[in-house]
């Protein structure tokens, strides 16, 4: 099957590398290749590049250079935040079973990189876990978070923007109430962590406004290289390493620095943050256009709030059809998107995010996610709107299921 079109609408999964980022990275593969920890001149040249990247990122976050810990990506940063905070909290909380088990608060729509480690720790009895359900619109209530805090809560982890349905969480407000709670209770805990991987291209990352203690970012979702990320760790936050070795990254993440990756990440973040307001405006118009176009189809529904939403995310469920089949029909028409269907996941579980909205299995099955990027144009959107009805009709024709709208 020949694709005349090539429309990539899966930017929440991966983004193309920006040529300017590639250009910035190239010298660090074969010219400035020495180990940044080495004291000789080539090593110091590499070290300087890493330092500069650190400073540039710190200034975007409105933090300090020593608060940036480079990692291998969002998943590692999330794991480091969780394991690191808990391990550092052990002596205080008697995480040896003798006294109280530490408590963690998170939400049902977090990325697996947060939920899986937390659920594992809960399973082995190392923590008590409260998982907050979002409201039906996919946004978590600030009050619900506050209500979940206990005196042994050591960590609150809530994503900035959701990767599947694009809903933006009130991080700054949650940060504020947590600060107040800590002050009132005269304690440094709980720490507040947020995974901002999907938010980085579109939202404000000022950690002073967000009141976060830990922030996860990665490069692969912002036109930077895959396999690089960082964890912002506010000064004074007690964190233990989960990767031990040569003591790089202030001893919090050992391993020779990925110089080209780090340089690329800094460049990528600088570029997306510079354009984020303009790009957000442009993409929200396209987003609304696609939403309007697709919701004209019968038995369709938008997943997640229409306004509290990333400008590049559209997630729609079509009843009676299965998302993977729909996705592949779209692929044959030259459109790349993704689905929350069980069939497309390796675990055969439908999207936990869509289920957490209180939607049915069937709604999760028929969900399609389109995520825009720099290259997305109005004619791309119009093309999707033009081919979707035929695909939905065809798949409904061969589907033995006809549910009514109450199944949403």
């Amino acid at each position: 099957m020949k694709n005349q079109k090539n429309i990539y609408l899966d930017n929440a999964a991966a983004t193309p590398l920006d040529p300017r980022v590639l250009k910035a990275m190239l010298p660090f593969f074969d010219k400035t290749y020495a180990n940044p920890s080495s004291l000789h001149s080539p090593g110091q040249a590499a070290n300087k590049a890493v330092m500069q990247a650190r400073k540039s990122i710190a200034s975007i976050l409105n933090g300090h250079a020593d608060e940036i810990i480079f990692t291998s990506g969002g998943t590692e940063s999330d794991n480091l935040a969780i394991r690191g905070v808990l391990e550092a909290a052990v002596p205080k909380l008697g995480w040896d079973g003798s006294t109280q088990v530490p408590h963690v608060v998170t939400t049902a729509i977090e990325h697996h990189a947060v939920l899986e480690p937390l659920m594992y720790l809960q399973k082995i009895g190392a923590i008590k876990l409260t998982i907050i359900k979002p409201k039906k619109d996919g946004v978590v209530s600030v009050q619900d978070v506050l209500d979940a805090i206990k005196h042994n809560t050591v960590l609150v982890s809530i994503m900035y923007a959701n990767n599947e349905i694009g809903t933006i969480q009130p991080i700054a407000e949650i940060g504020k109430v947590l600060l107040r709670w800590r002050k009132e209770n005269n304690t440094a805990l709980p720490y507040f962590h947020s995974d901002a991987c999907q938010a980085a291209g579109y939202l404000d990352l000022n950690v002073e406004k967000l009141h976060v203690d830990l922030l996860t970012l990665n490069a692969g979702k912002i036109y930077g290289p895959k396999g690089v990320g960082l964890l912002f760790v506010r000064r004074g936050t007690k964190l233990a390493p989960i990767t031990r070795g040569g003591g790089q990254e202030r001893g919090l993440r050992s391993g020779t620095e990925n110089t080209p990756g780090i340089v690329g990440m800094a460049k990528a973040l600088e570029l997306v943050q510079k354009d984020r307001e303009k790009e957000s405006k442009r993409l929200s118009l396209l987003r609304n256009r696609l939403i309007d176009g697709l919701l004209r189809l019968p038995k369709s529904r938008l997943n997640g709030d229409a306004d509290q939403r990333l400008p590049n995310n559209v997630n729609i469920s079509f009843l009676d059809i299965e998302g993977e089949a729909a996705m592949l029909y779209l692929d044959a028409k030259g459109i790349a998107c993704s689905t929350g269907s069980a069939c497309a996941s390796s675990s055969l579980d439908p999207s936990h995010v869509i289920l957490a909205l209180g939607m049915s299995y069937e709604a999760a099955h028929g969900s399609l996610r389109f995520t825009f990027g720099k290259s997305t144009t109005k004619s791309d959107v119009d093309y999707v709107v033009s081919v979707m009805p035929g695909i939905v009709e065809m798949l409904r024709k061969i589907s033995p299921v006809t549910l009514d709208m109450s199944r949403f």
Binding site: M1, D320, I321, E322, E324, A325, L328, Y329, A332, S341, A342, C343, A344, S346, L348, P350, Y361, E362, H365, K397, I398, S399, P400, V401
Partner: protein, 219 residues
């Protein structure tokens, strides 16, 4: 269940396939499905069957027309809610049933998922479960034909699949409970105790209840 004498094919090499996810045959059947049911209302079926895969929530429905003299299946139609492999597998199965003048009911009953998979040129490892539904739906349709024509002795009941690992409750137990009128989780639990020892299976149970409700309430 009779065990197939044919050797089962190796669907995935140890290194995994290096090409696309689906074979060309799978894609061909997926994009241009054969024999799917276009006009349910106008179709006079001699037997029909429906199965659902609680694994991922897909559903298949098969209709057959049988020549009463030769006992051969003259026509086979289907509808599938599922992924590309599920759609391709039902499409391929319908071809296998009616090609060369049609299979006899007894031959058709012997179609195994492996046979369908072989004809499809293999399926990715995590998609194998999708291919086991088409032949199951076909056997359900064959049973339905026997039931309708009064040949009850020829009906073959399949074994169930365990849903609740603690209490060893199968999908058939749940099906029976629904048939007896239990249409909510609470009512099914009152009859079977399902999920009380193995709460992890409850979402699946709920899905099964919905599935069986649809299956029986339509008739």
């Amino acid at each position: 269940m009779k065990s197939s004498t044919k050797k089962t094919i190796d669907v995935a090499s140890r290194q995994g396939s290096d090409g696309g996810f689906y074979s060309d045959t799978v894609k061909e059947h997926f994009f241009h499905p054969h024999n799917f049911m276009e006009d349910e209302v106008g179709y006079k079926a001699d037997g029909q069957g429906m199965v659902g895969s609680p694994a991922c929530g897909d559903v298949m429905r098969v209709w057959i027309k049988v020549d009463p003299k030769t006992k051969k299946i003259k026509d086979c139609r289907w509808k599938t809610f599922g992924c590309a492999s599920a759609i391709a597998a039902t499409s391929m199965m319908s071809d296998m049933v009616i090609e060369k003048g049609g299979l006899t009911l007894e031959k058709a009953r012997q179609i195994r998922p492996q046979d369908i998979m072989e004809r499809l040129g293999g399926l990715p490892a995590r998609k194998i479960h999708c291919s086991v539904l088409g032949d199951k739906a076909l056997r359900a349709a064959i049973n339905d034909y026997y039931r309708k024509t009064g040949q009850v002795d020829k009906i073959e009941i399949e074994q169930g699949r365990i849903i609740d690992k603690v209490l060893k409750i199968t999908d058939h137990d749940i099906e029976e409970a629904v048939l007896e009128g239990a249409d909510t989780l609470e009512k099914v639990q009152a009859k079977t105790k399902v999920g009380t020892g193995d709460p992890a299976c409850i979402p699946e149970v709920e899905q099964l209840i919905r599935f069986y409700k649809e299956k029986y309430c339509e008739k």
